[in-house]
Amino acid sequence: MTASNEGSRLIDEMKAQSGQDPADCYQCAKCSAACPVTAAMDLLPHQVIRYLQMGLEEELSNSKTPWICASCFTCAARCPRDLDLARMMEGVRLTVLRKREGNKFGPADLTPEQLEKLPQQALVSGFRKYNK
């Protein structure tokens, strides 16, 4: 465990750029109960905030969860602390994507069949979310 209370770049940047402070969360796990895609996650959404509270930056960078989050905003709509978890997830994604060779997904990853059938909207939003 590498939890630290010392400043973390991810968390400082997240507070500034998302306007969300992980300290506001009291871990009721409403977000995890609301999330429609928890089945594929390795950390539940409330655990992501807990990791943020504990400064577990590296563990978060390696987690699958932020990439499973589809930004459906259900968590934010129901959070009793008025936190926008979708913005916090975006913060974790961006710290990875903004690194050199941080892209998670590109045109080369698509099959010809997908290219033909997927609505244009899916391709553009997929690239926007997983590629910088």
Binding site: Y26, A29, A33, L43, P80
Partner: protein, 661 residues
């Protein structure tokens, strides 16, 4: 030239930490009229007061300034000390250098000059102070209790036992309140009715208690010791003297309406008593649903009533009475959880609130005491309780903890297991809060002996699937998603203030907090007092609380009321307004702004040339004036002055602050 003494309090480091005492002392020596300066660590202590008293006597001081905390805290302490040294107490001024200065500044660089300025202003003002006498006021030896729940009943009984007459005004047809709706009480599982009804009866039979049920407070005027109250007695359409409470009328009545007492889960008749043990056992006719009032025919109750107590001609009446003290005990409501769309409350009969579920246990409740699903009448096998529905939720609900839910949920889960040994309860919670005598032990019994599964987490969705309600939640401790096929769901909906609490507060002159609960005068030291002298609060109208706390607070409020009623005379406000009749133009703007109706117009005769001239001027009734200063502020000719806060005194303060720069 006055002989003024200035005394500075360190208040430990509260003041001395941000105000340089030495510099302030030195600066104070140079204020006009100051002949003596001193300082002490805690001026409010007996030692500190002695310093002031001795200095007054030794130095022949005729004015005193203390630089301390807010006058709200200790003005009386210091005035009393001054009086003991033979000085008129109104010749002492408080400079608030704590709340107004040291607490709001970060360092001495800002704090010290500010403290000096405030003291200079106080010294300039005190030079113009005059000796004042507070008037003596009579006390009406009767109390009013608003609200007839357990808080109101307890407060009324205590006041009555002390020997004073007390009226209980209750909005519903019967006293009893929320506690009457409960089946059992935690943590002892006493039957709620068994412990409440004797108190209801005692209140009704007490020679000093007068019940005014089905009535509301309309208007409150006056002040401590002499509140003039108008109470609207709603028409019952039943003569309470003739009525024997036999019940034939509501048995025969053909019209129905949802029962408020049963939270809408059952019907009552249009002529009804809310519940079987109602006090008084006198029904009322609900005009909205009564066939006679709606369509002009029926009158079955009138025909059937053996003592002929039905009276369709009855009218609302206004009762006017004077009271010395008022206890407000108007209770709480349960939040409507239907805004939480994910829980589906209101869309499925098996999703209930805590108070609704409570009624299912009651032998005279909507299911005759059988705990069954309202959808199909079958006993539930799995019941899911969800905590904090609307509590601790700053986004969609209330930011506070409702305090009673953890405990009533444990109670209901235990009762369920006792009624239906095959049933299994699940409780989704954020934190279990069980501070209270025997509470933690009780909640642990639910988990350990009654097989109640506590899941730390919340619920994201509830939806019907076949015969069941699927509850989709999360247990945060294991990090697992949980799907429970439940038969019933119980939502611990937040306890909230009555919607009309702010309106009642305005009528009686007490204020509410941001949640509409009534404000106490001090969160620790004056928990039952309000900012209005003579008005006290008790029970869940102040903040959510359980029965033991409510009863304790009600008794506390009663003691405060009795303390007031037991006084022969009250000291009134010395700093009242006075009119300079020579200057007054008779515009009477002051009459319009006075919140205490203390100002009237008066005709005076003046000599004018050879004859006399009649003209109108304002006149202040010092018994009614509370010294708020509104009249003085609005007076165009400056002819109303408030004693102790005259225009000259205030300008002297302003000058002292402005001219030093």
């Amino acid at each position: 030239m006055p002989r003024t003494g200035v005394f500075l309090c360190h208040c430990g480091s509260n003041i001395a930490g941000t105000v340089n005492i030495d510099q302030t002392i030195e600066a104070s020596r140079n204020f006009p009229g100051v002949v003596h300066v001193d300082e002490y660590r805690y001026l409010c202590s007996e030692m500190g007061q002695d310093i002031i008293k001795k200095a007054i006597e030794d130095n022949n001081l005729d004015r005193v300034v203390v630089g301390t905390c807010s006058p709200r805290m200790h003005e009386n302490t210091f005035r009393k000390a001054a009086a003991e040294a033979g000085l008129n107490p109104y010749l002492l001024e408080v400079a608030n250098i704590r709340e107004h200065c040291s607490w709001v500044h970060k360092d001495m660089e800002e704090g010290t000059p500010k403290a000096i300025a405030l003291l200079r202003a106080a010294a300039a003002k005190v030079a113009l102070n005059e000796a004042l006498e507070a008037p003596k006021l009579e006390v009406e030896k009767r109390a009013l209790v608003i609200g007839g729940g357990i808080a109101g009943i307890q407060a009324a009984l205590d006041i009555a036992e002390a020997g004073y007459p007390v009226d209980i005004v209750e909005r519903e047809p019967s006293i009893g309140g929320r506690m009457a709706q409960l089946e059992k009480t935690f943590p002892t599982l006493d039957c709620s009715a068994c412990i409440l009804t004797p108190k209801m009866v005692e209140a009704a039979q007490h020679p000093n208690i007068n019940l005014i049920t089905y009535a509301e407070v309309e208007e409150v005027n006056g002040f401590v010791g002499q509140f003039d109250v108008k109470i609207k007695q709603k028409a019952r359409y039943v003569d309470p003297v003739k009525c024997t409470g036999c019940g034939i009328c509501w048995e025969k009545c053909p019209a129905k309406a949802p029962s408020e007492f049963e939270m809408g889960l059952a019907k009552r008749k249009s002529i009804y008593v809310p519940f079987a043990q109602a006090v008084p056992m006198v029904p009322v006719i609900d005009k909205e649903t009564c066939l006679y009032f709606r369509k002009g025919r029926c009158q079955i109750c009138e025909k059937e009533c053996p003592p002929q107590a039905i009276d369709y001609e009855q009218q609302d009446e206004i009762i006017e009475r004077r009271y010395g003290a008022i206890v407000v005990a108007t209770g709480f409501d349960q939040m409507d959880p239907s805004i939480y769309g994910e829980y589906g409350y209101g869309q499925h009969p098996d999703i209930l609130t805590g108070l609704e579920f409570e009624r299912l246990f009651n032998a005279s409740g909507p299911t005759g005491g059988k705990v069954v699903r309202l959808s199909d009448g079958k006993p539930p096998k799995k019941v899911v309780f969800i905590q904090c529905v609307g509590s601790r939720d700053k986004a969609r609900g209330m930011n506070y903890c409702s305090k009673i839910c953890c405990m009533f949920t444990a109670k209901q889960a235990i009762l369920l297991k006792e009624k239906l040994p095959d049933a299994k309860s699940y409780v989704f919670y954020i934190d279990v809060r069980t501070a209270g005598k025997g509470y933690e032990e009780f909640q642990r019994r639910a988990a350990e002996e009654y097989d109640v599964a506590y899941l730390r987490g919340q619920v994201g969705k509830i939806f019907p699937e076949g015969d069941h309600l699927v509850v989709h939640g999360v247990d945060s401790l294991s990090g697992k998603v949980v799907d429970i096929k439940a038969d019933m769901v119980v939502l611990s909906a937040a306890s909230i203030a009555r919607a009309d609490a702010p309106e009642l507060g305005r009528k009686i002159g007490i204020n509410t907090d941001s949640y509409n609960f009534f404000n106490e005068a001090h969160p620790k030291l004056k928990p039952v007092e309000t900012h209005t002298a003579g008005i006290f609060i008790a029970g869940a109208c102040q903040t959510p609380k359980d029965i033991p706390d409510t009863v304790a607070q009600a008794s506390a409020a009663a003691v405060k009321a009795v303390g007031l009623l037991s006084k022969e005379m009250l000291q009134g406000e010395a700093c009242t307004a006075e009119v300079d009749e020579a200057e007054c133009s008779g515009c009477l703007h002051c009459v319009a702004v006075c919140p205490y109706t203390a100002i009237d117009a008066k005709e005076i005769e003046e000599r004018y040339g050879d004859g006399t001239l009649k003209r109108t001027v304002a006149e202040v009734n010092p018994a009614l004036c509370q010294g708020c200063g509104s009249c003085s502020a609005i007076c165009r000719s400056g002819s109303i002055n408030q004693k102790g806060f005259s225009n000259e005194q205030i300008l002297a303060e302003v000058d002292a602050i402005c001219l030093q720069r």
